[in-house]
Subunit: 654 residues, 3 copies
């Protein structure tokens, strides 16, 4: 099903009824409204005005549309900030208060704002919790966007001290756990603890990790309070949240999504591609400039699907040029349809476009909508019409998403560790994760993302690019699994308090892999060393561990100097160095073969994805390509030759 | 005529009389003094000491020199700052107070400093307003240099709130005009308004534009107050100001210059070239390293000429290596003379060198003068002597500057819009304007700069690289003109409140051009698309608009995808995309031909300029070149072969 | 002799005795302890706990080891900061307080911290000053590391004002000396003086130089106070300090070391090479990635040797990968031994490894030690064993370091001047000094570093890359010397108050060289001009002076335009421009020939160094090379073919 984001408060009421009619006529089902409208819900302190909102819900509902209400907590109004300036966050890098004038100007640690957030959420939940036209709720908006998870406010400092007290009980335990004897960093009481900001040189990684976890916990607690209110006052309606790329939030997104019915993602392929490839030369970037890179969107679709049980939504789908990337091209013709179908192929339940009509004012006036500011149809309109026809042809409700054969473990602690303790400047957990994902996708594999303590049963192959601080539960899950499990370097690198584990890394992972990491070196990425696997030489760069066997294990690959580079014990494999995508593709292909998972090497701009009995294929090329379908495939959409920027869907031959 | 900048307070009085004698003997007419000397005019609060200044004026006057007094307001003394620290500006980027220790440490919004500025100006005007040796006044010095227009002080915030109240009358009007309903940015009263600084993410472009305009208005008001005092107390003397490159001030320079007799420019060709070409490789930069780029100086000469009615001055002319660029080469032999003659060719009335004698101390001790610190003649000295002879030969008073055939419209609002709403990171209004200028100059054209509401009558061609918010008066002027008018992309892009115009851009410009801009895309400059004009393919990059015809118009060029790229309706032409200088040269050449304006393609390092009946040609090459003169030309200076770094001046054959 | 850095407070007491036994068994002599342990020496304000320290000293001493105690002042404990937050320094760039959470969080100008530093030093000195196991003391740790010399605290401002008053006596003298009449920067009293921070644009170079000198003086005074206490309470024990690279401290290191018995250096060849070559491409960097560059370590060894009379120490020697460079490779096999022997070759008395056992917690958990965290031997262990054997074979006490034939003058004022008055962005004193050093080393020369007023008697060649503000004593020393003296450009550039000298540069140096510097130009390094010496053309770039002869002197080289580039008068030579290392090598080789100093051109990765009768050669290559030894050389270590990453030591044939 399709939806759209709508801001009735930005338009004359005279347009509302016609807008609703056109939405319905286009084939849309859902309309998200309300987020950002706090100054209209409560124009003066304590003075609510819901009449206009009652009216638009009525209009939309009567037109046959279902309403999703966003809580407006991303945009506290000026009067609230003026009454309680302590709501504002403080930038940990600069020490400056981050003020009013845009959005997200609030501190997750602020008790005042927590109370205010609950109050406005409750007011909305009480009024609309049982409204028949309301289908569900979106909490806040793109929580943690604009680097808002970390704050160095007095409230954050007080909260952090309390969090440390709760975790460690007494201050000596904290000093010991963090190793504060080093550099005389010992505290005598919890109220002596500083935030790890503004120090003369780097602070203790344990300190920084605690601050990261504390900050993530505040986001989750802030969010959970809204969910709880909505659950209590709007039973039977769904609650979701629209995520931005998971690596950009500084939050444990699995924890954040724990109480949601399903997760949603805001999908801007061109903006993301522009930013992710900003360092690439023109020849590398240009082929993706107006299509987006085929692995960047789905990388987040598959992560979003893994966050919560229900079929995920695309809450905001780019329909044309946006305004916030370095450069903002128009999508190539066909891409809005392609991106939409791709989301459904990866398991989306709903794709909702952002936004209905381009606003002629304020920060996003250069951001396209389905309509131009003058209400004429923008370029994406006919593509949405085509999607409506496609969806009718596909009848996707028949084809629920099945568990994949391959799981990719995503570990936010590994990301944080990589940021906190760089060791090698080019070590970047997100890119390492993405490289593994891209290698799997180039092999035509469906990929599920699982968190460290997630359920890994039923997978044939579990790929773990890095697992910073493996818990007992994680290890037990992996031991219980029948899958091949591949660990990348830096797995088991630390204890939960960010110290080296007893007996050297990989610490508790030795239950699976009897090895010891004797030392680590990091290399400039332009100065790789080498490793030899299966008779071929691959680069070994960026992060290289020196491994000692500490039990029954075989060496599957060696460095140029003869040291072990890949070690295997039973179904567990440890890759001690980072290499390149060519290696990952070859290596994972071989493991899939062993695990009985079929692979197929795809064209760089062709990707496939299965949903139930259907196989979707997407062609990002400017030329037609043959569908990578088996002989006798029955095409439900398209055919054996996939046009430029087009899709095909087939069933296996009967 | 020639002049020099002199700082008598920096030298023993014993040198003054001999200095005056040597200035006169060299052939100088004007001597600028006094700016920066506040601590000597008023060594203690309220205690004035003018005796030394009386004396030097007397000495200079008796030596036959004319004195220009600079008001010393760029350098308030320490005691004034200590008494009124609220004078200091606040950096909007960092929030830090910008303190004492250099110059320009004052906030244009400070009522205290406005009062103090008026007080010291009045004291000087009263004492010297009728002094027979005083020819005129310079206000302040390089106003807004060092990024001082914008300040985030409490005074600026209060002033901005009052400015908004004066402009919008009631707060709802402001909220509506800016679209503050977006993101709940609505204010309930003017005193709730913040400066657009320190927000979590980007602020409303309308908000930022208002802050820019407010800040520019404060500079103008500060300056106008000085002009008013000088006019009142020094009737018959000229008042001018020495501008730095107009794009660097954040000020509406036409408004600033409105009450001046003429404008002045501080010309440092090597420093400017070093900075403007800092991103260029050695092969591109090196040819200009010791000559400066031939289009960078005149770009500002021609703008300066357009600011005020009288013949402009070069108030400060580089005579040797300076101290403030990244690297500071020596001028190639002949260049000081060449630059001086070039200023006269472009209409200068006076060229004044900075400075008489190199100071052996403080910030500018590595900045050359006409004399070295030991009073010996520095390298430029014989070139000044040559200029004196050249001027005698030319007798320029006979040759007033005539209106050019081609006008280039410079729009400070377009510059500010480009900075506020980047949309594409590589969009840079100043470089776009400069590219148009360079194309015109490479065609040997004289160019006048006009502001948006300036007089365009009498031109054959009006080139408007971008016109952000066209006013009714601008449109009326253009409609009344018989010129061909070429608009670049982003013309008519916004209303005066920085919203998209009714009916889409170019809004009110549709009176001239019946088109609608349906969408905009921005591309990385290294990933251009293409457009075809006149059978040739040119790049279309950075900024590309999708155009729909909305009336009688012809499509003069198309994008590679067939869309309209250049549209023409009568004498109005709209170019919907940015291209390169090769395109601009070809295209403008063709329009000149149509408009009956003669063009001639010049060597990259040769430029010509007319003044009355005279044509000047300048050779920046290290080799001689033939003068681009018609057969039978009568040479007044030089001859048919122009030497390296030399000039020739001729009249057309009789 | 060898040593190690040990942190008993970080380990269970149960490990201490065994650690001591293993240290001794390995062949170590010295153990440094105590620095960073303030929170254990004084866990509560005024409550000392020395029992544990008594015990470990006893254990180490009884094991046959000698103890070096570090004063713990680099790490004031939290309770001290909380009681006296004014101890914290203020970052002059950002204005932010640099807080607790790492190390070096104190302001050298703080009277409170000076008192506290003296108090804890005294407590240690009183307790251990006569302890028989204590061999000596290390003051603080890596003083001024992490850019801590400069602070913009209120204490620094007050101190600076007093320092100015002491230097200039009355404020008019200061105003005149600095040229404060420029830009009305005049002060009326010393308490009006600001620190040269936060100004709108650049501040007076005299002001900045004074701030640099003041700040350096505070470091020295802070340090001298510790030395004085230690001398008074621990007679007969040595006092030293462990320096970081001398150019990184912002301190006059010769002044700092004035009262030390010997200086020590912390030697991290791979980290330094990673940072110093960060701008180099892979082909240039890669050969040194795991060996370090052969001239970067010794550049600092030779400087350290010149700081104080006794044989210098390496107080911290890298034994494996570190944690603080951009990338942190493992040393190539053999390099830990090679680096150690190289330090001895350059005159070291002791090399002490950092650290005994890798800590599993806190900031340096990824920094290798001699042992891994689990007490197993890390990679360097067998190389230390080999060094022990080497030292036994060499018996270095027989071979004291002799004065070299060539002196390189290192002038911290020239470095500061280059940073304060950039003039050309690519002018970098440290790289200029290093280039001269590298050229001399490539010629197989031993090099002594001398400060400007240092003793230059006995040298055959004195190389002075730049001498900013030559004193009468320096000039007298140079005149008295029989050496050839080569000055680089910018010598004699300024008076002591950072003004141009009377009669133009080189001012007082005209006693040696009758020339005048008429002007200076700076060029982009990629746009060099040329100079011709000895029939060959070399680049002349970055800094170029125009020279006039002012007496008896010959022109030894000319610029391409014919101007003098190298001038010579008797034994004094002035090189007026920067060139490249090829020029320096050719030119210095010719001067050595004249001065009777033997040279030999070496392979880029081979270096030699003499100690007494011994000649050491070090091969950084991955392949063997012939030892650059004379026929008949008697090898004490190694032989005529030096293996990869190996050394040879020989005596001349009898």
């Amino acid at each position: 099903m399709l939806g759209v984001c709508y801001y009735p408060e930005q338009w004359p009421t005279s347009l509302w009824r016609e807008d609703a009619r056109r939405m319905k006529a286009l084939g849309l089902t859902y309309v998200r409204i309300g987020e950002f409208a706090w100054s209209r819900f409560e124009p003066e302190p304590g003075v609510y005005d819901f009449a206009w909102f009652d009216e638009i819900i009525q209009i939309l509902g009567e037109a046959g549309l279902k309403v999703v209400i966003g809580t407006p907590t991303a945009t506290p109004p000026k009067w609230l900030i003026d009454r309680h300036p302590e709501i504002l966050p403080v930038d940990p890098e600069t020490g400056r208060v981050r003020g009013f004038g845009s959005r997200r100007h609030y501190d997750f640690s602020s008790p005042v704002y927590r109370r205010e957030s609950d109050r406005i959420t409750l007011a909305l939940a009480e009024r609309y919790g049982h409204n028949p036209y309301v289908a569900g709720w979106q909490t806040d908006n793109e929580i943690s966007c604009h680097d808002t998870t970390l704050s160095a406010s007095p409230a954050a400092k007080a909260g952090f001290q309390a969090w440390c007290a709760a975790r460690y009980g007494d201050i000596d335990a904290l000093n010991t756990a963090w190793g504060n004897v080093f550099w005389s960093m010992e505290y005598r009481s919890f109220d002596e603890i500083e935030l790890p900001v503004d120090a003369v040189t780097e602070t203790n990684p344990a300190h920084r990790m605690a601050y990261r976890r504390y900050s993530s916990d505040q986001v989750v607690a802030f969010h959970d309070a809204q969910v709880k209110i909505l659950r209590a006052h709007s039973p039977g309606k769904f609650v979701t949240h629209n995520f931005i790329p998971m690596n950009e939030t500084g939050v444990d997104n699995h924890a954040l999504a724990a109480d949601l019915d399903f997760a949603a993602y805001d999908n801007y392929p061109l903006g993301r591609t522009d930013l992710l490839m900003a360092g690439d030369g023109a020849e590398v970037f240009r082929p993706y400039m107006r299509t987006g890179h085929p692995d960047f969107g789905t990388f987040f679709f598959d992560q979003t699907r893994g966050l919560a049980p229900g079929a995920f939504w695309i809450m905001e789908q780019q329909p044309g040029p946006v305004n916030w990337a370095n450069h903002n091209p128009r999508p190539a013709p066909g891409m809005v349809r392609l991106w939409t179908l791709e989301a459904f192929a990866h398991g989306a339940g709903v794709v909702s476009y952002f936004r209905w009509r381009q606003a002629p004012f304020a920060q996003e006036q250069m951001h396209a909508g389905l309509l131009r500011p003058d209400s004429s149809q923008a370029a994406a309109w006919p593509e949405i019409e085509a999607v409506v026809r496609d969806l009718a042809a596909l009848d996707l409700d028949q084809y629920p998403t099945a568990r994949a054969k391959v799981a990719l473990m995503v570990d936010v602690q590994a990301q944080w560790l990589g940021e906190i303790e760089r060791q090698g400047r080019s070590y970047d957990y997100t890119h390492i994760l993405l490289d593994h994902y891209r290698a799997l996708r180039a092999l035509s594999l469906d990929v599920d993302f699982v968190p460290p303590e997630g359920d890994v049963s039923g997978y044939a192959l579990v790929v773990i690019p890095a697992l910073a601080t493996p818990s007992a539960r994680t290890i037990a899950n992996l031991k219980a699994s029948s899958a091949l499990v591949v660990f990348g370097p830096r797995s088991g690198a630390k204890t939960d308090d960010v110290t080296l584990p007893e007996g050297l890394p990989p610490g508790a992972l030795r239950e699976l892999l009897p090895i010891r990491v004797l030392s680590v070196e990091t290399l400039r990425p332009d100065c790789p060393d080498a490793m030899i696997w299966n008779g071929k030489t691959y680069p070994s760069a960026t992060w290289r561990e020196e491994i000692e066997l500490a039990g029954e294990a075989e060496v599957a690959a060696r460095y140029a100097d003869g040291g072990a580079a890949i070690v295997r014990a039973g179904k567990a494999i440890y890759v001690a160095s980072l290499s390149d995508r060519a290696f990952l593709t070859d290596f994972l292909e071989s493991l899939c073969a062993e695990a009985g998972v079929a692979t197929q090497r795809l064209d760089a701009k062709v990707r496939v994805r299965r949903r139930g009995d259907l196989t979707f294929a997407f062609n990002y090329n400017e030329e037609p390509v043959p569908a990578p379908a088996p002989a006798g495939a029955v095409f439900v959409l398209g055919g054996a030759l996939i046009g430029p920027r087009d899709a095909a869907v087939w069933k296996a031959p009967a």
